[in-house]
Amino acid sequence: MRKIRELRVGLATCGVAAGAERVYEALQHEVETAGLRLPIKRVGCLGMCYNEPLVEVVHADGRIDRYGHVKPEDAPRIVSGRAVKDLEVDSERFLSRQVRIVLENCGRIDPESIDEYRANDGYRALEKALREMTPDAVIAEITASGLRGRGGGGFPTGMKWSLAAKEKGPKKYMICNGDEGDPGAFMDRSVLEGDPHRVLEGMVIAAYAIGASEGYLYVRAEYPLAIARLVSSIRDARAAGLLGDHILGTDFSFDLHIKAGAGAFVCGEETALIASIEGRRGMPRRRPPYPSSSGLWGKPTCINNVETLANVPWILRHGAAKFAALGTEKSKGTKVFALAGKIANSGLIEIPMGMSIHDIVFDIGGGIQEGGELKAVQMGGPSGGCLPASLADTPVDYEALKATGAIVGSGGMIILDQETCMVDVARFFLDFTQKESCGKCTFCRIGTKRMLEILERICAGEGTKEDVGRLVDLGEKIKANSLCGLGQTAPNPVLTTAKYFADEYAAHIEGRACPARVCKALLSYRIDPATCKNCGLCARQCPASAIADGDGAQVIDEVVCVKCGRCRQVCPFGAVLVLTGKVSE
């Protein structure tokens, strides 16, 4: 009989959505009926989202078997270890090139158990800081590590802390920004769900370094599981003397509150986030004064992103030098990315800075879905840009990526293939930023609206030759004349696609064609009479009743057709053609 130490079931939001809760129950039932004493651990996200629900079997000798796409009825096989070959997943390629600092514990420990976090060196960095280091020494260590803000800005963390530390107290605030608003990004969610104590520990250390006595954790309301885990973690940390008065018996006291955000992308901006905590509309204000001198309720305030803070305990435990040994000259350590879109292995990864985009997509991500071709990588969400496949050798490095027009960003990495229309992607992001603009600055409020209108016109096949020039001109002006990061970066998706995919804009405008066959107004559906077997399946599925019997083949009435594409999906013979442009194929 083989010896199993424990079973682990990934129960982060993505796992739960894939049905992991039912798998967990089935395993529990199976273990109970078999009379085994086998711990089944509820863990966070291991990052292999493409295999969810995911179950790990940890053997007594430390060996781990991973099973993917597990269904409740697979429970007996997994517990007995018989006939499980078809469930096994090959994780070697996905995991071997990753370096896990922030995600060290994610998917390994029970996020709701403070004891398990402590058994894995948790809160040791806090102990070290409070007992052996002065606040200045903590700041010096973080400065030496070269850690930069992981929320997208890339501002040196040590410098941010020292600015806040220099301010006079007595009242200072420490804020953790967990308002992960980028569509296509879920790094912070995974860390908060999978290893909440790490974020708390990082926050308490930061508070000690700058001399803050009170803190706020600002988390998106759309992340109910993350909030629930933080609430229980804070309670446990308080009970263990790791939060509250006289932490670990020292003179340092710090306590924190959770604020659930209410849905506003702009609240990722520091001053807007502060306004939101104060109970107001989340609108940014002019800086200076910077929050480090006048932040929450006018008091000195330091704001760090979730991932930034999650790096801190590791740096103090292992030393700045070990952290700085990873990465490039100016970008140290690791970065967590959420890989999604047309990628084979979507999920959450952590790589050393300096790895090329190509290696991330093809080595870790397993390439493009269904044998597609890499067209572009969208990084940094609405504030970021699209990097074309020809620049895939660019390393993940703040400066190198900035030079291309894209940014490292908070970590969203959306992989696009030949079926993605770049003009449509630009329109998508502008639609987002235009709606999320708080309305304070004219250029952002009205400029993004005008840009969106131009993009919509191009997608509708009504673009004019001057439109691209207008977009670039407007984009530059919005960047120059907006108060906060939202407006200053909103044109980036348009500017980068206009730069790298100029031919696609030209095809839309001059050829009235959407090469990726996405923009509906530029498409027409036709049935190839030579291939059509006249089975009528398409006609029965057509929601617009646009298909009728023709002469031995089905015929689409283009006036009635709503271009939903369902006929093409259901046709077993591939007889439905999608045509685009003035010159039909």
Binding site: A185, A221, A264, G341
Partner: protein
């Protein structure tokens, strides 16, 4: 007002813990919406009174954030994720299908009061794109078939 607003008592009891300051406006609004599913005029007035703020300021906050709604929703709320990953993997089709099957536009409620259709910017489960959230339950990789099954299940439960 008490009689036509039975939930108010419970709300006010839970509110004893919440400081009577403007900074409490967002948590107070969240608690009203949690209980009633939306923000009624009375709810906004109560929040303003508790937080010692003007009702207009509370209304300003309520309309700024996308979480809050001022109309009573249906029994179940469908939120179609329109994040980037979902967008490139067909969230538009999901939305069109739902509009067609439910016969409503975004923000509207079906005449039988069972479903409200909404869109959300990103649910953060991009690897399961396209995704739809029904109340607090997330459904991943939804196609036409899955959507029909989801609607059927919740309709049945609603009876």
């Amino acid at each position: 007002m008490e009689a036509c607003f039975p939930a108010a008592k419970a709300t006010r009891k839970a509110w004893d813990q919440i400081p009577r300051r403007p900074e409490s406006i967002i948590p107070l609004l969240q608690s009203v919406q949690e209980e009633q599913g939306y923000l009624s005029e009375e709810g906004i007035a109560q929040v303003a009174a508790h937080a010692h703020s003007a009702a207009s300021a509370v209304y300003g906050v309520a309309t700024f954030y996308s979480q809050f709604r001022l109309r009573r929703p249906g029994l179940h709320t469908l939120r179609v994720c329109e994040g980037t990953a979902c967008h490139v993997l067909g969230s538009e089709e999901v939305m069109e299908t739902l509009k067609e099957l439910l016969g409503v536009e975004v923000g509207e409620t079906t005449p039988d009061g069972v479903f409200t259709l909404e869109s959300v910017r990103c649910l953060g489960c991009c690897s399961l794109a396209p995704a739809v959230m029904v109340d607090n339950e997330t459904h991943g990789r939804v196609g036409r078939k899955e959507i029909a099954a989801i609607l059927k299940r919740y309709r049945k439960d609603a009876r």
